[in-house]
Symmetry: C2
Subunit: 203 residues, 2 copies
DNA sequence: CCCGTAAACGGACTGCGGTCCGATTGGGGG
DNA sequence: CCCCCAATCGGACCGCAGTCCGTTTACGGG
């Protein structure tokens, strides 16, 4: 969920110490039920009780496994997050290695906005369920570290670590949601954000 | 709360249509009790029930008046918000009128960070109590409009309205809180943010 | 001074996210 | 094949934010 090592994805690769068969069955049931209910009724109006009922498990099982509603959302997002992380590590330029840092930064923002466009509701659930949740999620750490590395290379005179945090702020799902609710189209947001980032990382 | 017209501040100037005396008394009691409890026990661990009990009013009264826990926080912040709004409108340059737009933008970010330093917990409560709360609060609209006006003047080639939203994102109280929890000092955040803004609004 | 009414009051109530702990069950060792 | 125990299960339970509605009260007009 948070790193890219193989065992980091609880959905695709349960850890070797073997998961009991009923546990595995219930995990899949829960994820399927949650996906189904979220798609049908919208993320906001589906309660954890209902997910548990639909999955045919007890509430305790649901919470032991995913910790919170935000954790459940994070698990559902994990596939997409991991895919983007792998693309950053292995894809051809400009998103992957061997491109100038400035290009990789812009490509990252562009790719992340795709992810936002496709998963806004789930992102919002995972980031706003509890205060500070966004900054504790594993994938946030990945984006931050990647961006800081690129910034260090592209703009040695900036405080890369701190700037990385600040530059990620406009990607906040709650802001992106608010903008889309208002008069702003995804394309307009994308264009403006990329322009802004360009100016920050210009010589 | 949202504008600067005299009757916009529910604390300092109740609207002329006369407020019943018991209502006024209870409003003051609630605000005093909330301030006291927040200062003593921290914002997070004070429940609305407790505030109502401490103020000697029913829960219904509390919610009819302030709408939500976030609304209560907004009321407590109103004094500070209004003060900054007035300073922006009437103070001498560079924060007030008659300074170059670029200088006013930087002065605004600097002044807002002072407000953050002094009221982080309340800001966080008002902005994270419900998804999207930050962008519905009246004062957010003020900052956004002001910044957009200045941007239009300073950088005519930018999409001022959209850029204003994106530039305000790093001021999100939840991010500011997370940064301060981590390795970042207020001064470091301030310096980095001002540098970032400078780059965005550079020629 | 009293009375009618519109407004304010307040606590019981709901549904939520999240916790706890006794009951249940899977699966390796004897 | 059975037994045991650690891991899992599941629903009763908690405190919370927020709602509802019958009751009380302020106050302007008669």
């Amino acid at each position: 969920m948070q790193h890219v090592s193989p065992d980091s994805c609880p959905l695709a690769a349960p850890e070797p110490p073997s998961e009991r068969s009923d546990a595995a069955r219930n995990r899949l049931r829960i994820l399927a039920a949650a996906q189904e209910l979220f798609d049908t009724h919208g993320v906001e109006s589906v309660s954890m009780d209902r997910i548990a009922a639909e999955a045919g498990v007890g509430k305790g099982t649901l919470f032991r496994r995913f910790g919170s509603k935000a954790g459940l959302a994070a698990a559902l997002l994990d596939t997409q997050d991991s895919r983007l992380q792998e693309r950053i590590l292995f894809d051809p330029p400009p998103l992957g290695p061997d491109a100038p840092a400035r290009d990789r930064i812009l490509a990252f923002f562009d790719a992340y906005l795709d992810l936002v466009d496709d998963n806004l509701e789930l992102l919002r659930l995972s980031e706003t369920a509890a205060p500070g949740a966004r900054y504790r999620i594993g994938s946030y750490g990945f984006w931050r570290v990647h961006l800081a590395l690129m910034l260090r290379e592209a703009c040695p005179d900036l405080d890369a670590d701190c700037t990385a945090h600040l530059l990620l702020a406009p990607l906040d799902s709650d802001l992106q949601h608010a903008l889309r609710q208002g008069q702003f189209t995804p394309d307009r947001i994308r264009g403006t954000l990329l322009t802004l980032v360009k100016r920050v990382i210009a010589d």
